[in-house]
């Protein structure tokens, strides 16, 4: 299934923040987690994750720290901040509203269609 680009873009921030709630992580691992969660349905150009992460950093939703990978390569880790958690909670409310609204409507049509 192909998810519309605009929808993917809209989902990106809450998705990344929600993954970071599970613990601090780095770009490649975040992408792997997205793929896992969506069973491959969410197609994302890998590189685009990084400008997004940098924007979240600038907004103060995440903090960053350079660490090392097992192979000794430099790796940048991202950790969600208190402001990031607030932002995520806010976005979550918005998504739930959207879900409820559409879900109610579609639940209804599904019943009448049956």
């Amino acid at each position: 299934m192909n998810v519309d680009k605009d929808l993917v873009a809209a989902m990106a921030t809450p998705l990344v923040l929600a993954i970071l709630v599970e613990g601090r992580s780095y770009g490649y691992a975040i992408l792997k987690r997205v793929r896992e969660l969506s069973a491959g349905d969410l197609e994302w150009t890998d590189g685009m994750l990084y400008p997004l992460l940098h924007r979240l950093d600038r907004l103060g939703y995440v903090s960053t720290e350079w660490g090392e990978s097992d192979e000794g390569r430099r790796r940048k880790y991202y950790e969600i901040t208190e402001r990031g958690r607030e932002q995520l909670a806010d976005q979550r409310r918005q998504w739930e509203t959207a879900n409820r609204t559409l879900g109610g409507l579609w639940g209804l049509t599904a019943q009448t269609g049956a």
């Binding site: 780095y26 770009g27 490649y28 150009t45 890998d46 590189g47 685009m48 990084y50 400008p51 940098h54 924007r55 600038r58 990978s69 192979e71 390569r73 430099r74 790796r75 940048k76």
Partner: protein
């Protein structure tokens, strides 16, 4: 090619965008290598894994555009004069010191020439006042060994002694010619200091040619800014101290000019990336325009013929024109992507050069006829000599450009020819300064 080479090339292409800084590149490279490791674990070989990993990261253009959107400030910071910690302080301090020295020398010379009857040698020495600090600046910044520095000092000393002590007669034509040519000779001395004394290295010579163009652009920008500053100063002072304006500007303008020469040289190296992009753009804009102008002029002159109005001024104008054309070609060629195929610009450069040669040949022919009629004067020899030096250079340049267009020879040949030719220029202007006055008995 192995994986590291691939990654290094890809990294360089990402970094070409000013919006991506080395730390971002590290992050992306780390991602790329993680992906390659996973793909190889799935059974792909290095090349396949690299290709897929790069494709998944996305088009370099789209990616850097996204970075630019997030980090738009970075594009501007490139222009600001921030100093990172790993940048050496030495050039900056040397710049300040030599700019101050240049100002002091310049003002001293100005005050000396203020006397009611300034000696003619003072006017001839202006070039020395202007360029000696620049030579010193590069000798210090390049950490030239003592012996080479002494050689430079000796050269400047010989030039200074010659132009100061030569027994020029009053209202001497050769005196003026020396005053005009001395700065050019000194510019080559600056060049020797710029390349740190490695005058034989062709690559370093080319660096100096590029430096010359970038320095001219920076200096022009500084002069523009200085003009605005001087104009506003005059306007602001006029209500309170209208009489002081002349005096203030007489102190500020020469000082600013003298310092600007050093600051421009420092800027060329400190802010390399900024003008490096500008010079090729300027040549790209002006090469076609000059090509059109030259073709029109050549046709015009060929049809209308040359009047009797030909004099030294016009030949000097043609010397300047040839230098500009040469500059456009050299900077255009040196910015040309070696891997790129022959394009319109290559043809345009060839057209410009050929038209310039034809035009100059017409002028030169008439000049030589005139010299035959009226004999040699110092002015004619100086203008004619430079013209011949230039036209020989342009002729060979035209042949090499034609080979690039038709025979697909590498463009580096043109660069090589220009760097090899530099000593001819230097030799000619030095001869004009040191030998020509004596030949004409300092008239």
């Amino acid at each position: 090619m192995d994986l590291d080479t691939h990654v290094a090339e890809w990294r360089a292409s990402i970094l070409r965008s000013r919006a991506v800084d080395p730390a971002d590149a590290d992050e992306l490279e780390s991602h790329l290598r993680d992906r390659v490791t996973d793909l190889r674990a799935a059974g792909l070989d290095d090349d396949e894994a690299f290709l897929i990993a790069v494709k998944r990261l996305g088009q370099v253009d789209a990616l850097t555009a996204e970075y630019a959107r997030v980090h738009s400030d970075r594009l501007w910071k490139q222009l600001a004069l921030s100093r990172t910690d790993d940048e050496p302080r030495r050039p900056f301090i040397a710049m300040l010191a030599f700019a101050a020295l240049a100002v002091v020398l310049n003002q001293t010379a100005r005050l000396l020439t203020l006397s009611p009857e300034p000696d003619a040698w003072l006017l001839r020495d202006v070039g020395l006042v202007i360029f000696t600090p620049l030579v010193g600046y590069f000798a210090v910044v390049r950490r030239m060994p003592l012996r080479r520095s002494l050689v430079l000092l000796l050269i400047i000393g010989v030039l200074a002694a010659a132009v100061t002590l030569f027994p020029f007669s009053a209202d001497s034509a050769t005196s003026l010619i020396v005053a005009i040519h001395l700065p050019i000779v000194l510019w080559f001395v600056v060049g020797v200091a710029y390349v740190g004394g490695e005058v034989r290295a062709s690559g370093r010579r080319m660096d100096f040619i590029r430096f010359t163009g970038e320095w001219v652009i920076y200096l022009a920008l500084i002069v523009l800014g200085g003009g605005v500053l001087a104009g506003l100063t005059a306007l602001i002072l006029s209500p309170i101290a209208p009489d002081a304006i002349g005096e203030v500007l007489a102190w500020v303008v020469p000082s600013g000019g003298a310092a600007g020469i050093i600051v421009a040289a420092w800027l060329v190296e400190a802010k390399k990336s900024v003008i490096e992009n500008l010079a090729p753009v300027l040549t790209a804009i002006f090469t076609p325009l000059f090509a059109v102008m030259l073709v029109v002029a050549a046709v015009g002159y060929a049809i209308a013929g040359l009047g009797r109005e030909f004099d030294r001024e016009l030949l000097t104008v043609f010397d300047v024109l040839l230098i500009v054309v040469l500059g456009l070609v050299v900077y255009g060629i040196s910015a040309r992507d070696a891997a790129k195929r022959v394009g319109v610009m290559d043809v345009l450069r060839l057209v410009a050069v050929v038209a310039a040669i034809l035009l100059d040949a017409l002028v030169l022919g008439s000049m030589i006829a005139r010299v035959g009629e009226l004999g040699f004067t110092p002015n004619r020899v100086a203008a004619l000599g430079l013209n011949i030096v230039l036209i020989v250079n342009l002729f060979v340049t035209a042949v090499l450009l034609a080979r690039i267009v038709w025979a697909r020879t590498p463009a580096a040949r043109v660069e090589r020819w220009q760097t090899d030719y530099l000593p001819v220029f230097a030799g000619w202007v030095t001869a004009v300064v040191l030998v020509l006055p004596a030949v004409f008995a300092f008239r």
